[in-house]
Amino acid sequence: MQEAELKTRQFEKVLAIIEEHQSQRSRLITILQQVQHEYRYLPQEVLTYIATALDMPVAEVYGVATFYAHFTLNPKGKYVIKVCNGTACHVKGSMKLVDVLFDKLKLNEQKNTTDDMLFTVETVSCLGACGLAPVMVINESVYGQVDGKKAGEIIDEIVAKEGGVS
């Protein structure tokens, strides 16, 4: 019962977003961005719902959602750590930084979200802060000239703030 209630409420939010864009198909990307912002990922039933509301095939919505790197069909952690692997960061050792994070959070390329849903580690092509390479971004905060030690400290800080042991 409670679950059903939850679902209706979720769709209300989606509906509000779709209405904000007057159900225009051309606004699909913006709609998906806002929906993802709401849930931190794009749940399958929501994609179906959006397709119906915009009167377009689910396959097309799915096609757009899977084309762009920003969209994810799986839930991400509360803290999304994006390690920049642009040219400048790459030549300054950003992949070593990824290894340190993977090591510390017991993650790997296939499994990049921690079980407690606190962290997701991913690489991005370029954050445009090349002067500070290597760079990583956690949610909205940019960290420059990060080495393995600094990365570890940042993670510890977040874990301490969340009051957990990761």
Binding site: T30, Q33, F67, Y68, G86, A88, G128, C130, G131, Y143
Partner: protein, 635 residues
């Protein structure tokens, strides 16, 4: 709030100047993405608190009522000043002092020394890493002194969130001139005469592009500003949108007048949230001031500008793909012709210009096309911004006239090449990668080549968006080629076969070079595949994808051959080719490595020299990590 219907731009300027009359000192803190990451906002807050606690008057919002008989300090944020590695940057005017790497704890001293007295805190000034000289400000620091900042001019000085300050620097006068005094033909002709070429990569003459769209007979036309700066290692568009968003808008307005468009889009990549925020705010402010919107400067013309955020696809930097993305579809390119100028967004005539191109436009209208041609070479007029990064002492955003040599950029502006530890070395230069994943490498032989569109094409590279990544002698060029190939392979949209399959094949061939399984034929096959992808791909992404590989193969063939024939990576970067040995002098025979080796490749008695059997060794690196005496060498 200002309103140009009742108040001319000149009156706004007048009022602005009056409002800053009582200001005795102005503190400008760089608030570009780089400096914010280094803590610029905390420094800003510290200044505010410190000035107030000293009982002085600090102004952040100029429009607030203030006592004109009193002295004031103006605390302001600016966009990116380009010297990102030295951030947070703090400028103090009229003293003209630039402090670098300022932390909140330094603020008290700055306020007491420089704001209240006219002294300088010497330890916070820039110190030249090679000469040890201490420089007081932009006019002395070689990084700035040797640049020619035209397009970036106001970037880093004006407050990007204050439309009045932009106007007081002559802003929107060019837009008014275009709308109120010039015909569409004149606008296009002026831009054509200036010789301005697209700053986004290809270098197509901007005036010509506009003219193609102008002559189309259609009620509806669009202008698109391409801010989908996806090239890894480039951030000039980000800096412009963050640092001087009104200039970009003004450029778009002039473009719209030139071709007869009434609607425009700024497509900004998602990774630039601050640029999105500032562009949106600039549009709002310009709308409110009556500069944008309906009846522009009383001419009856309309222009509405929207900001569209990308969703993380490099291919959307390609114009036809970008338009698909604005339409809400998968960002896949389509064949040209028809060119966007004929049939673009929603099938209407559309021009797409890069951010930097549009930012140059108001200056051309303000100062004339001859003025613009004063800088640059015969075929490449004006200045160009470059993102100077990698193994170079001064990383950051620079602007130089076309025709400047690489030597000037790397050694004089950049301050020289650094080794992996970050120290400047005289002999370290190996190559510069220019133009990102579409570009190529320049070597020592090309250090004195004047950089412009045509010269770069001749040597197998391109201006591209302007990323300049300096690489030192410790960099493996095969790895660099692989890095770019992995990037384009990942970003290939998959529409056309040569790009989709070809990049995959090239990547696996490069992998075989790196892991030592390649043979002599691999190089020929790489070359051949590259040529085919170049010829047969649909869009710019595919057509230029092989460039980094072909360019490094041509210029560093010896390095490729060494990997293939001798099975040696000359820079010892390729793990699979590493020869792992134990140093006889350093090894004390503690047996730690032998006990940890997962494949039992290490043998040796206690307190005796240990040896690694290369046939069994998998080069996992565990031995090196457990050895306390750094005796395992080769990694």
């Amino acid at each position: 709030m200002i309103d140009v219907a009742t108040k001319t731009l000149e009156m706004v300027t007048e009022d602005y100047k009056k409002s800053i009359e009582s200001i005795t000192k102005k503190v400008i803190i760089c608030a570009g993405t780089g400096c914010i990451a280094s803590g610029a906002l905390e420094v800003f807050e510290a200044f505010k608190t410190e000035i107030e606690s000293q009982g002085l008057d600090v102004i952040i919002d100029l429009h607030k009522e203030k006592d004109h008989n009193k002295e004031h300090f103006h605390l302001s944020e600016s966009g990116c000043q380009g010297f990102c590695a030295m951030g947070p940057l703090v400028n103090i005017y009229p003293d003209k002092v630039l402090y670098v790497k300022v932390t909140p704890t330094d603020v008290k001293e700055i306020v007491e020394t420089t704001l209240m007295n006219h002294d300088v805190v010497e330890r916070l000034l820039y110190k030249n890493p090679t000469t040890g000289d201490i420089n007081r400000n932009h006019e002395e620091i070689p990084f700035y002194k040797r640049q020619k900042r035209v397009v970036l001019g106001e970037c880093g000085y004006v407050d990007p969130e204050d439309i009045e300050e932009y106007i007081s620097h002559g802003g929107y006068l060019a837009a008014r001139k275009a709308y109120a005094e010039m015909t569409d033909v004149e606008v296009c002709q002026t831009i054509l005469a200036s010789g301005l070429r697209g700053r986004g990569g290809g270098g197509f003459p901007t005036g010509k592009k506009w003219e193609f769209a102008r002559i189309e007979n259609n009620e509806k036309k669009y202008v698109i500003c391409n801010g989908d700066e996806g090239d890894p290692g480039a951030f000039m568009d980000r800096s412009l949108m963050e640092g001087n968003p009104h200039r970009v808008l003004e450029g778009m307005m002039i473009a719209a007048k030139g071709i007869g468009a009434d609607e425009a889009y700024v497509y900004v990549r998602l990774e630039y949230p601050l640029a999105v925020k500032r562009m949106k705010l600039a549009i709002e402010d310009a709308m409110e001031a009556g500069i944008l919107g309906e009846n522009i400067f009383g001419t009856g013309k309309t222009l509405h500008i929207h900001v569209m955020e990308g969703a993380g696809a490099f291919v959307c930097g390609e114009e036809t793909a970008l338009m698909s993305s604005i339409e809400g579809k998968r960002g896949m390119p389509s064949p040209k012709p028809p060119f966007p100028a004929k049939c673009g967004l929603y099938g209407k005539p559309t021009i797409i210009n890069n951010v930097e191109t549009l930012a140059a436009v108001p200056l051309i209208l303000r100062n004339g096309s001859d003025w613009f041609r004063e800088n640059g070479t015969a075929t490449s007029a004006g200045t160009k911004t470059f993102a100077l990064t990698g193994h170079v002492a001064n990383t950051g955003l620079i602007e130089v006239p076309f025709g400047t040599t690489l030597r000037e950029i790397v050694y004089n502006i950049g301050g020289g090449v650094t080794d992996d530890a970050g120290n400047v070395t005289g002999e370290g230069f190996k190559a510069v990668q220019i133009g990102g994943p579409s570009g190529g490498c320049l070597t020592e032989a090309e250090l004195d080549l004047p950089l412009d569109y045509d010269n770069l094409i001749k040597v197998g590279a391109m201006v591209g968006s302007g990323g300049l990544v300096v690489m030192n002698k410790q960099t493996c060029m095969v790895q660099i080629a692989r890095f770019f190939m992995e990037f384009t392979q990942n970003e290939s949209c998959g529409k056309c076969v040569p790009c989709r399959e070809g990049t995959k094949q090239m990547l696996s061939m490069l992998d075989s070079v790196i892991d030592g399984s390649a043979n002599q034929r691999t190089l020929d096959l790489l070359q051949e595949t590259g040529e085919v992808i170049k010829m047969a791909s649909l869009c710019g992404l595919g057509k230029t994808a092989p460039s980094p590989v072909l360019s490094t193969m041509e210029k560093f063939r010896g390095e490729y051959e060494s990997h293939i024939i001798n099975k040696v990576c000359p820079t010892s970067n390729c793990k699979a080719l590493a020869v792992i040995t134990i140093d006889a002098e350093l090894c004390i025979g503690c047996t730690a490595c032998a006990r940890k080796c997962p494949v039992h490749a290490i043998s040796g008695e206690k307190k005796q020299l240990h040896t690694i059997d290369p046939l069994i060794c998998t080069k996992c690196g565990i031995c090196a990590s457990v050895c306390k005496f750094n005796a395992v060498i080769g990694f």
